[in-house]
Amino acid sequence: MNNDIPVQTLGGQGEVMAHAVDACVHCGFCLPACPTYALLGDEMDSPRGRIVLMKEVLEGGLPLLDAAPHLDRCLGCQACVTACPSGVPYGELITAFRGWSEPQRQRSPLDRAKRAAILKILPAPKVFSVAARLGQFAKPLAPALPAALRSPLDLLPESVPAMQPSAAFTPARGVRRGRVAFLVGCAQQALTPNFNAATLRVLSRNGIEVVIPDGQGCCGAAALHTGARDEALKLVRANLNAFNPDDFDAILSNAAGCGAGLKEYPMVLHGEPDEARAQAFAAKVMDISEYLGGLLADGTLEPTLPASRPLKVAYHDACHLAHAQGVRAQPRDLLRAIPGVTVLEIPEGDLCCGSAGTYNLEQPELATQLGARKAKNILSTQPDLIASGNIGCHTQIQSHVRRQGDRAPVMHTIEILDLAYRGEL
């Protein structure tokens, strides 16, 4: 798309944005892939429309305030990236745009406080854990609360377990075949500590030793995707200092959103002195399913025990795994490798569940519609188990599946593998 984005004055992030707009030929192939276009049916709430709006704002032809409602409704799911034949890096565009525009936004004091609280609480597992437990007590009050407060409560799982810090080093069982670093994540340490515990057990069983480098923190995706670029940069630099890519075969994450965030580091630092370091780091980042899928493909993955009965597993593609990282086959292959497991495909599988990082808290109405639609699609397959590879999807799907009266367990792919190794599936 022809544009006059003033790259010279916008610096590295301007180059990222202009490159994306350049590549768009406004063909419209992204429209049917976009969840908000599916719900609203107007051009401003489609990827193509948003690219035009961002271009207009960057060129100075449209006030940011006018474009904001439509840009704020974007989930950042990147389904449009999968659908785009021209190779438009839409995810980079919306992320860079949010970072550029947020300082110019005039938000209400309440809105500011809410956003600040999210960004303070989310990356601090201990604080998050306390907040989540308080939330448990508040859950019965939910119907009486305003929507802004109700939505986070609705998403809390049925029970919030105690924090289980992970060991800094987990040795390989048997012959050591590899050495990886692991990013432990934030919210999931507080909400679903078993994700990490299962990850360490499965890696160790496969002869992989796991290091959890000290000094690591939040991946920065939540800050980055809500436009808090300065906070994001602090977190990005801390992780670049904590992880030395030369020391490890891979740097693993078991949260699709975090893994996608880690892989975005070169884009975040485009044109800055740390860009080369970020590239070396990102080249080593893999999702846990990507890494284990590689072992499976090589024939070096330890076989699991069979499931105790035939199990139908509905696998949900987290957007940040499928669309952002292109990881679709590996989780399915890993599940199928468990004797007795059949993997079910979910109708409208490419459509976001509506969790989308902090979207649930920012746009509860749209998030709820997408969550209900996702749960309905999942339950139409009549699964025994529901698998996903992302904490956000996990809580959203669990909450909406329960609302629709179904008790099927919702698990992380790695938890299912872990149970299979232990003969408890």
Binding site: D42, L53, S86
Partner: protein, 477 residues
């Protein structure tokens, strides 16, 4: 994806901003009074998004209406007529001739929320409102053992209304015919806001509206013919060291009696652009790739026809590969459908053509166009529905660094190649604004006058999609 729209306040989660520089014009106010705020867009941020199609940016409309019924369309047309502003219909704006890009500020009527679709299997018909997504018709018909064959590359995005307005084609059309061959009846709203229901008899007014690009009326609904799909389909890919050889193979295969259901060609640049997108292992070094489907209810016949095509390709110097599975065939067709947008990887802008030439002239035509491209400073690529002689030469350019007048001149030369060989300017994309200037080369003055008479009869105030198809009167070739 379901095309069902949820009744949602589009203001959820964020108040509509008081529009800075918005259209507080009387038209938007009147439309809002008539239709309510949910169906009328008047903020600049909203209107800016209704000024383009998939090839061109036009004038920003004064107001946009998103009708949910034919009654809404009637009300909107009458209000626009009273205000004396032009009216442009719009589907998904995936068109490639500038058809939905307004040439002057006015009213845009966007049909994306008119998505009612009913299948009548006993009559083998679908009743579809204008905003129904093309692919949704086949998806809804398939459980009844029926399909809707017209399959433009954009069929996941494009709408039935837009398909009818442009008389869209697609790979299936070589054997099965184009959109117009599947329309039994349609409803349209005329320039005065009157609703009409027309069939294929008594003047075949439906046929006149099909392909009229929104210049004679606004199509609101259509009755579409459905057919049972073929039982068997087989796919092959052949690649050639030279583009003309590919065209020769096509002519020879058809002359030998093969009637493939799809016969598609893409040149080396196109193949590389889609390979960058999909990584299918397409032959990057081939100058031309041919994709062919044969289909039918008798597997032997289907395989014999594919063999005829394979033999013709090999005799012309091609290398043939058959798709081993349905999934492999589907992946190849996904690649073909992605060609046009994938060209954005090469240059940010395109001038696309849609010529149709007699099949016997194909080898000469593709070679002449290739030579024109090689002699020009631009990247010129070719692909298209070579089975029925419908080619899409595309000039790829960067308007910031390259001379757009020279692009236009090259496009004109390509159009003249088609006309010289007894061809026409548009197979399926429409004339729109992109090829309007070439109409005087393609159509004699007397015939142009007849076209103008038709236009005036149905749109006396020249309010419907002005500046499209017909060159201004008095402009002679």
């Amino acid at each position: 994806m379901s095309t069902e729209k949820l009744a949602l306040t589009t203001n959820s989660g964020a108040r509509k901003p008081a529009s800075a520089g918005g259209a507080h014009n009387s038209l938007a106010a009147e439309l809002t009074r008539l239709l309510g705020p949910r169906k009328v867009l008047s903020n600049l941020s909203e209107r800016l998004n209704y000024r383009y199609d998939a090839i061109q940016f036009g004038a920003t409309p004064l107001a946009v209406v998103l009708p949910e019924s034919t009654g809404d369309v009637v009300a909107a047309v009458r209000a626009a007529r009273a205000a004396g502003v032009p009216i442009v219909g719009r589907g998904a704006a995936s068109g490639l001739s500038g058809g939905a890009a307004p040439t002057e500020p006015g009213l845009v009527i966007s049909f994306t929320r008119m998505t009612r679709l009913t299948i009548h299997p006993e009559r083998r018909e679908a009743q579809a409102q204008a905003g129904v997504i093309t692919l949704a018709v086949s998806d809804a018909a398939r459980p009844h053992g029926l399909i809707y064959p017209p399959d433009p590359a954009s069929f996941r995005t494009s709408t039935i209304g837009g398909n009818l307005a442009e008389n869209a084609g697609g790979p299936m059309c070589f054997k099965y015919g184009v959109t117009g061959d599947y329309v039994r009846a349609l409803s349209f709203v005329d320039a005065d806001g009157e609703e009409h229901h027309v069939t294929r008899d008594a003047f075949d007014l439906a046929g006149l509206l099909i392909g009229s690009e929104g210049t004679l009326g606004l199509i609101t609904e259509a009755t579409l013919r459905l057919i049972p799909p073929a039982t068997h389909t087989r796919t092959l890919m052949a690649h050639f060291p030279e583009v003309g050889a590919c065209a020769e193979a096509v002519s020879a295969a058809i002359a030998a009696g093969a009637v493939p259901s799809k016969l598609e060609f893409m040149d080396r640049a196109c193949t590389n652009a889609v390979e960058d997108y999909l990584n299918l292992g397409l032959p990057r070094d081939a100058e031309a790739v041919l994709l062919v489907d044969t289909d039918g209810d008798d597997l032997n016949t289907v395989q014999d026809e594919l063999q005829l095509v394979a033999d013709a390709c090999e005799r012309a110097g091609g290398t043939v590969r058959r798709a081993a599975t349905d999934a492999e065939g589907a992946a190849l067709w996904r690649a073909r459908r992605s060609v046009s947008p994938a060209l954005g990887r090469i240059r940010p802008q395109r001038m696309n053509e849609d010529i149709v030439v007699p099949r016997s002239a194909l080898p000469d035509v593709v070679r002449e166009i290739r030579a024109l491209g090689d002699a020009s400073p631009f990247r010129l690529v070719q692909f298209g529905h070579i089975g029925d002689g419908n080619l899409h030469p595309n000039i790829l350019f960067d308007p910031r660094r390259e001379d757009t007048h020279a692009v236009h001149d090259l496009a004109h030369q390509i159009a003249l190649v088609a006309i010289r060989h007894g061809g026409v300017l548009s197979g399926e994309h429409g004339i729109g604004s992109m090829k309007r200037d070439f109409m005087t080369d393609a159509v004699d003055p007397g015939t142009l006058k007849a076209l103008w008479n038709v236009k005036r009869a149905l749109d006396p105030h020249l309010a419907l999609n002005p500046g499209k198809i017909l060159p201004a009167e008095g402009v002679n070739g």
